[in-house]
């Protein structure tokens, strides 16, 4: 049997990720298809009429340039198509959008405020520092924006059971919360090591009625929890919706989650104009999978003067090999259903990540970030455990705000950057979550016994 393939470029324009990111500038997905280099699936020329129908179906979906795609077992392919269809319908349905907006106001507490951190500015000595207060959301982080939207989708698709992976526990808590609010059965997969680091969140999820299943394989962190959640989904796909927690996974998840988080940037852009009279010089956000970063970046993609900076976890230092900087120190690879940057060896075995912050402790990153890195629209830096700890303490002492360790990574870089800029400029930081959950980890790192 021979299979003739026609030009990938010709067909790709018609498919791919949504380019209608609400409120965003020119989105980096969809029409912005780049060269096919570096992805499996380059075409050869020629085709026959008889094979054309089958060939059409060989169009890959959900690519950001060379990144993204759907690298999953066949069992899940129909479910991904169902999810994409349900989401496209929901996006066009005013009733869905109204319900989501109403719940974001009355249940989540949006819009979240923009806060100018003047005492922290004095420490940095330079640009104005604005914090987008996602830590003030219900459940304490940006994760609820996505969990709520996907729970509405699950209900729309008639799925009565939801599952999720969680690292720090923030996404797990958000999913358990909306599952309780919507009366959905809920199972959360969490690495055993993370359960130890985030015992408080485990208890919160159980109080909310979720079953928390420990994952013991491999490094027993977010990577394994995600793999196990995908295996559950493969097994229970007919009854279950998988609420993935970041802009990772197979299409349509990276686009779906980015859309649901884009409310952060829409609000923040408007709030900056109101509070500062113009746009910030830079927008800074931490990147594990990258959902809070994309959430705030999207609204600024079209603003050329605004620098977008993603901050990865350098752990004990990039040189030690114990870090989670997939974009900074990884290579293109496939993990959990999409092609992006990953930490891996020469045979494509995924290497364990390390970070003091469980939420950044992931050896992959969302494919749209890989694309933003390649195109140069965003740049990515890394901050060590120690630097993040210092920023954690600085914000706590100077402003009375205890940040999540994840967000402390963004703060650390923002403080450095602000010091290099003038008082006429502003840096906007996504304060993606609050740090109550991290108090024990911080105490241990500071050598304090509670």
């Amino acid at each position: 049997m021979s299979l003739k393939l026609k030009s990938l470029r010709e067909e790709r324009g018609a498919t791919g990720a949504s380019d209608e990111v609400p409120g965003g500038g020119p989105a980096a997905g969809g029409a912005a298809e780049g060269p096919a280099a570096g992805r499996p699936g380059r075409p050869s020329a020629g085709e026959t009429a008889a094979e054309e129908t089958e060939e059409k179906k060989l169009s890959p979906r959900g690519h950001f340039g060379p990144f993204g795609g759907q690298f999953v077992p066949e069992t899940l392919m129909p479910a991904l198509a169902e999810l994409e269809e349900a989401y496209e319908e929901a996006k066009r349905d005013p009733a869905f959008q109204e319900e989501l907006a109403a719940l974001l106001r009355s249940y989540v507490g949006r819009p979240t405020p923009l806060y100018r951190a003047r005492r922290l500015e004095e420490r940095a000595g330079g640009a104005a520092l604005f914090l987008k207060r996602e830590d003030l959301n219900h459940t304490g982080a940006h994760k609820i924006n996505n969990a709520l939207g996907q729970a509405l989708l699950a209900r729309r698709m008639g799925k009565k059971r939801v599952i999720a992976e969680t690292g720090a526990g923030q996404h797990g808590v958000a999913v358990a919360t909306v599952a309780a609010a919507f009366g959905l059965e809920c199972v959360i997969y969490m690495g055993e090591e993370d359960m130890r680091r985030q015992a408080l969140n485990v208890f919160r999820m159980r109080l909310l009625g979720a079953e928390v299943r420990p994952v013991r394989s491999g490094t027993a962190t977010l990577k394994e929890a995600t793999s196990e959640a995908i295996r559950d989904w493969v097994t229970n796909v007919r009854t279950t919706h998988y609420i993935i927690g970041s802009v990772v996974g197979p299409h349509p998840y990276p686009t779906l989650v980015a859309d649901l988080q884009s409310v952060i940037g829409r609000e923040a852009r408007e709030q900056m104009l109101e509070a500062w009279g113009r746009l910030p010089r830079a927008v800074v956000a931490c990147v594990g999978g990258g959902s809070n970063a994309l959430g705030i970046f999207q609204a600024f993609l079209g603003d050329e003067g605004v620098e977008l900076v993603g901050v990865e976890a350098a752990g004990e230092g990039i040189a030690t090999g114990r870090h989670a900087a997939s974009l900074g120190a990884g290579t293109p690879g496939i993990l959990h259903g999409s092609l992006s940057y990953v930490l891996q060896d020469e045979d494509g075995q995924i290497r364990p990540a390390h970070s003091i912050s469980a939420g950044l402790d992931y050896p992959g990153v969302g494919p749209q970030h890989a694309y933003l890195k390649e195109t140069g629209r965003a740049r990515y830096v890394a901050v060590t455990d120690q630097e993040a700890l210092a920023a954690f303490q600085a914000l706590t002492e100077a402003e009375g705000i205890i940040p999540a360790l994840e967000s402390a990574h963004a703060l650390s870089y923002a403080l450095r950057l602000a010091g290099e800029l003038s008082e006429q400029e502003a840096v906007l930081v996504n304060l993606s979550g609050r740090g109550d959950k991290d108090v024990q980890v911080v105490a241990a790192a500071l050598g304090v016994r509670l």
Binding site: R39, E54, E74, T75, R238, G333, L335, L339, G348
Partner: protein
């Protein structure tokens, strides 16, 4: 001979004997490549019609606990793709039955699709199964495999729509891998009714041999499936039996254990 033709011959031979082809699966390098090599020879000589050899991966999304654990052991033992290819080069001439490699997409991608396929062919692999690569993402792979003469085996699942069955069947060579359950690999008590239903549905779209895998471990199950399928894949049970024999530690115990298992299963493949 090209991979697809080797596979066709193996299925035809089994069919000619009134049997479904028996396809045992092993994880390469569990616990080391020497044991894998001896186990492959034993399986081939005592009843297997084809062999499926898994290249272990750090994150095997389609696999249940038994194969996950075997993969972890193999990687901990230091197995590499290079090592697996050299083992294949060494044993394939002595097997007398074709070998199909199961490999996760990232291992292929990381090496370079073209290079991986070429090296697999040179090592003697007749076909490739990439469980996390749907045809949509497989253009370059399919083209490279056609050039190298390696059969591309895609998977059909109980959830596959008619359109998708047509797609995976049209992109497959050698045989179509029919996943018996919505789920991951691992031994199960019964033959899921959806397995037989999938066979009926898949038959409408292809004349390729249909092989059923996932969840089949016991002769009774093999017997039920063999009546309607052209091939029966047994994975976790073989991996488990081999591991237990290696644990027991007696010289030759591993070969004896997989040898008797394969004979017992082979007897159940009669139509």
């Amino acid at each position: 001979m090209k991979g697809a033709a080797l596979l066709a011959k193996a299925f035809a031979r089994a069919a000619g004997e009134g049997r479904a082809a028996l396809i045992p699966y092993l994880v390469a390098g569990d616990p080391n490549l020497e044991v894998t090599g001896r186990a492959l020879l034993t399986l081939a000589h005592r009843g297997a019609d084809l062999l499926e050899l898994g290249i272990p991966h750090s994150d095997p999304l389609a696999d249940g606990p038994v194969i996950q654990a075997a993969s972890t052991r193999a990687l901990a033992g230091g197995v590499t793709v290079d090592g697996i290819f050299s083992l294949l080069r060494e044993v394939t001439p002595r097997l007398g039955v074709p070998v199909v490699l199961l490999v996760y997409a990232n291992t292929v991608f990381r090496r370079g699709v073209e290079r991986f396929v070429r090296e697999a062919a040179a090592a003697g692999a007749a076909g490739l199964i990439i469980p996390d690569l749907p045809p949509e993402e497989g253009r370059e792979y399919i083209a490279a495999a056609r050039r190298a003469g390696v059969a591309t085996v895609f998977l059909a699942a109980p959830t596959s729509t008619p359109e998708r069955l047509r797609l995976v069947a049209s992109c497959s060579e050698g045989f179509l891998y029919c996943v018996s359950v919505t789920g991951v690999t691992g031994e199960r008590r019964e033959v899921p009714p959806e397995a037989l239903e999938l066979l009926r549905r898949a038959r409408e779209y292809t004349r390729l041999p249909l092989s059923v895998g996932f969840g089949l471990s016991r002769p009774e199950q093999v017997q039920v499936v063999a009546r309607q399928a052209d091939g029966v894949i047994v994975g976790s049970a073989v991996v488990r039996v081999l591991h237990e024999a290696v644990q027991a530690g007696k010289e030759g115990a591993a070969e004896e254990a997989v040898g008797s298992l394969i004979e017992e299963l082979r007897a159940a493949t009669r139509k």
